[in-house]
C-alpha cells in the first residue's frame, strides 16, 4: 500500500503540481507589464570614448544585450551581488566585506546541483558517462570504501550553516518567517534521509531505478511491482522529495525562476540610447504652454520684449 501511494500516486501528483505550478508562475509574472527600464547600475555607464569602463563595469552596468546576459550569468552562477556583501559595524561606524553568506549559499546551491546530477543515474539507462565521471571524481573513488560523496555531506553542512544564521544571528532571526525555517527543515530532512539510506540503512537501488524508469514510461503495472519491493526507508526520502517538488512553485523557493525576470538585473543600462515603451502609458494631463502663457502673460511678454534674454545691471 505504501508503495502504491508514495511510490506511484504521490510522485505523479507532485510532479504534475510542480510543472503546472512553475509554468503558471512564469505566466503569472510574465503577463504583468514592464512599464519602465529600471536596471540597478553598479558600474560606470557607457558614455564618452575616453571614459574607460573596466570589465566589471561592463557586467555591472551593461549597455548591450550580451553584457546584460553576462550580468545575468554571473548573478545566477556566481551570486555576484551577494559577493559584494558588506557588514556594518556600529561600534566602528564603518563597514567591511562579509562574504559568509555568499560562501554558504554557493556551497549549498552547488552541492545541490551535484546531488541532482548524481541522481540522474536513476532516470537514465545507460547512465550518461559524465554523470559517472562526476560522481567518481567527487567521491575521490578508491580513497574511501564505500565511496563518500562530498556533495551529499556538504549540502547538509551548508543547510545547517544557513539555518544557524537564522537561529543565532539576531537580525536574521528577526526577519525569518516560519516558512524560511520550514524550507530549510524539509531540505535537511531530505538530504539526511538520503545519506542515511546510502551509508546505513541500505535499500534496493535496482528496484528504485526500476520504479523511476517505469514511472517515466508510464508503465504503471511494473511501477507498482517495483514500488512494493522497496524498503520503507526509501519512502521517507521519496515522499519528502515529492512534497518539496509540489511546494516549490508556491514558495520562496521560486526565487530560482524569478531571478530570470528581475527587471533591475535583466535589462541593459542603455535607457537614453534605446527608448523603452510602456504598454499602458497614460496620456499627459496637465497645463499646456498656452494655458501657462495666459496665466503669466505680462511677465512672459516682458521677457519677449527684452529680446528673450537678460543682462546684468552693471553700475
Amino acid at each position: 500500500m505504501i508503495g502504491i501511494i508514495f511510490g506511484v500516486l504521490v510522485p505523479y501528483i507532485a510532479f504534475a503540481i510542480f510543472v503546472a505550478g512553475v509554468v503558471y508562475k512564469f505566466i503569472y509574472w510574465a503577463k504583468s507589464a514592464v512599464p519602465l527600464k529600471i536596471p540597478t547600475t553598479s558600474g560606470q555607464q557607457k558614455s564618452l570614448k575616453f571614459i574607460k569602463r573596466t570589465i566589471y563595469d561592463r557586467f555591472d552596468s551593461p549597455f548591450t544585450k550580451w553584457e546584460t546576459a553576462v550580468r545575468m550569468i554571473l548573478e545566477i552562477f556566481a551570486f555576484r551581488s551577494l559577493l559584494k556583501n558588506t557588514r556594518y559595524y556600529l561600534d566602528r561606524l564603518s563597514q567591511k566585506d562579509a562574504r559568509w553568506l555568499w560562501l554558504f549559499a554557493i556551497l549549498f546551491h552547488y552541492s545541490l546541483l551535484l546531488v541532482l546530477i548524481r541522481h540522474t543515474k536513476f532516470f537514465f539507462e545507460p547512465v550518461p558517462s559524465f554523470v559517472e565521471m562526476l560522481s567518481e571524481l567527487e567521491a575521490f573513488k578508491g580513497v574511501f570504501i564505500p565511496s563518500i560523496y562530498v556533495s551529499g555531506l556538504a549540502i547538509i553542512a551548508a543547510l545547517l550553516l544557513l539555518w544557524f544564521r537564522r537561529i543565532f544571528l539576531s537580525r536574521e532571526r528577526c526577519i525569518s518567517l516560519p516558512s524560511d525555517h520550514f524550507a530549510l527543515i524539509v531540505l535537511l530532512a531530505i538530504t539526511i534521509s538520503g545519506n542515511v539510506m546510502r551509508y546505513f540503512i541500505k535499500v534496493d537501488i535496482s528496484a528504485v531505478k526500476g520504479l523511476l524508469l517505469s514511472l517515466m514510461t508510464f508503465d504503471i503495472a511494473k511501477a507498482v511491482e517495483f514500488a512494493n519491493a522497496i524498503e520503507p526507508m526509501f519512502y521517507i526520502h521519496f515522499a519528502l522529495g515529492s512534497f518539496l517538488l509540489a511546494y516549490f512553485p508556491f514558495s520562496k523557493l521560486m526565487h530560482a525562476g524569478g531571478i530570470f525576470l528581475s527587471p533591475t538585473r535583466n535589462m541593459p543600462n542603455n535607457n537614453r540610447a534605446e527608448r523603452h515603451v510602456n504598454p499602458w502609458n497614460p496620456p499627459y494631463k496637465g497645463i499646456t504652454w498656452q494655458e501657462y502663457y495666459e496665466a503669466y502673460k505680462d511677465q512672459l511678454d516682458e521677457i519677449a520684449e527684452s529680446g528673450y534674454k537678460v543682462k546684468p545691471e552693471v553700475m
Binding site: S32, P35, K37, I38, P39, T40, T41, S42, G43, Q44, Q45, S47, L48, F50, I51, D57, E75, S81, L82, K84, N85, T86, Y88, S94, Q95, L169, R171, E172, R173, C174, I175, L177, P178, S179, K252, G258, I259, L261, T264, N269, N271, R272, A273, R275, H276, V277, N278, P282, Y284, G286, I287, W289, L300, E302, I303, A304, Y308, K311, P312, V314
Partner: protein
Amino acid sequence: METHAAEKIRIEQRFPSWRELLKPNTNFKPGYYHYSFRISDAKYLELPFVREWSPVDKDWKLPPNWKEIFLTKMKEYLEKFRSFKLFMDICVRCGACADKCHYYIGTGDPKNMPVARAELIRSIYRRYFTPAGKLGKIAGARDLTEDVVKELYYYAYQCSLCRRCSVFCPYGIDTAEVTWIMRMLLKEIGVVHRFSLISIASSARTGNHLGLLPGGIAGALQSVAEDVYTITGIEIEVPINKKGAEILFVAPSADFFATPHWYVCMGYLMLFHEIGLDYTWSTYASEGGNFGTFISYELAQKLNAKIYQEAERLGVKWILGGECGHMWRDKHQYLATMNEPAKNLEDPVSPITGTYFENAASTKMVHIAEFVADLIAHKKIKLDPTRNDKWIVTLHDACNYARAMGLLEEPRYVIKNVCRFFYEMPEHTIREKSYCCGSGGGLLTEEVMDLRMRGGMPRAMALREVHKKYGVNFLCTLCAIDKAAFPHLLEYWKLPVAVGGMMELVGNALIMKGEKERTTDLRGEPLIRRD
C-alpha cells in the same frame, strides 16, 4: 540655575520576533513622521479624498470603502508593474540588504531594514493574493486594517528611494520600487505627505518646484549674471525662452535661489558664455527635478512632460541637463518612456567638439558632466586648477545617478582637471555603494529632521574619515537635494566641510577671455594657493 547636558545620541537596536514584526506599529515618533498634505495642493492635483486629517489623529477619516479601493488598486498595480509582483514573490529573507540601509543603520528600527519594509506590504500581498495567505500569521500574512495603513504611511516615507539595498540583493529586489508602489496605493485612499505635494503642485502650475514665475526666473538669472560680473568683470547675456536656440538647458530650480546651488548656476553661465554655446533657459520647463517620481507614475509624467513640450515649441536640437540627482533617474530611466521625445529633436552632438553623444541618442538629453568632460578632453576650455587650491575635495556620488544611471567617472574626470587636491572616501561608501545624504526621495523636510540626521550618519562618518586623514574641506556633489541637505547634516555631525557642486569648481578654474584678475572664488572668498 538649570543646565542642559548635551544629549547623547544612541542607536538602539531592537530585534523583535517575527510575530511582533507583523504587528503594526502606530507609535509615531516626532521627527520621523510626515505631515499630511495641504488641502490646496491636493485639490489642485485632483487627488482622491481630499480632507483635513493628521497622522497623529486616531481617525484618519479614510473613505468608507478604503479597503476595497486599496485592494483593487493593489491588484491593478500587480498587473501594471512586473517588478512589484516579482518582488512580492521571490524574496528569501537572506538579510543581505538589512545593514545596507542608512535609515536602518542610523535608527536601529527593525522595520527600516529594506526586507522588513517590503514585508509590510508583502504580508498584505500574501493574505489577499496567495493561497497560503489564508493560513494567516503562520504564513507571514496579516489583515489589512487601518493600523496597517498607518504603519505603511509611517515607513513608506522613511525610505529615500536610494536603491542601495538593490545593489546587494541577490535577486535585484529594488525597495525603491516597492516603496514607490506603497506610496501610490496610499495615494489612492487619500494618504499623502505634505512636502512633495507642495513642490509637485507648484511645478505643475508654474513649471518649477519653487513656484517661481517667469519674471522671478529672469530676475534670478540676472542676479546670477551680476554676481558673475562682480567676480570676472564679464557681462553675460542670458538667453531665456529663445526660439531656435540649438540647445535647451534644464537645471533643478534650486539653482536659481538656494546656496550653494547659486555658485553652480554661476558656473553654468560662465561656461556657456565662454564656449559661445547657442542655448536657452526656459521658464515653462524650468525644473529638472521631478518630485512626482516620489509619489506616482502619473505625477511624475505630469512634471517631466513639459521638457519635451518646450523642446518642441522652442525648436531646439537637443537638451542639456544640469546637476541634480533624482532628476537624472527621471531623465535617464523615465522621461522618454513616459513621453514620446519631441519630433524636432536631433541626435545630440556637441557644437564645440563635434562629439556625438551616442548614449543619449534616443532621449536626446545629455548630462552636464558628460558635456564638460568632453570639452576638457578636447582641450576646448582653459583651466587653472590652482584657483581651487583652497579646497581639498571629495566626491559624494548621489544615489540616483550612481545607481540608476552609472554616472561615476565623468564627474571625477572633471573634478580632477579643475582642482589639485582630490581624495576618495572609503571604498564601500562611494560609487554604486554610495550612502544617501538621508534627505532624498521626498524626505527633505523639517518635520523628519531626526530621521534625516540619523539616516545621514553613515555618509557623515565616511566623510569624517577623509576629513581627518587628508583634511578634506569640500564635499562635491552633483545633486540639488544633497546641496540643501548636507549643510545641516554636517553641522549636526560637527564636520567643518563646505558643500558645493561640480560646476562651481569648474567656474572657479575656468579662464575666461577678457576676465579681470580673479581675487576671489565664486563665493566671494579670497583665493588661496597651496604650494
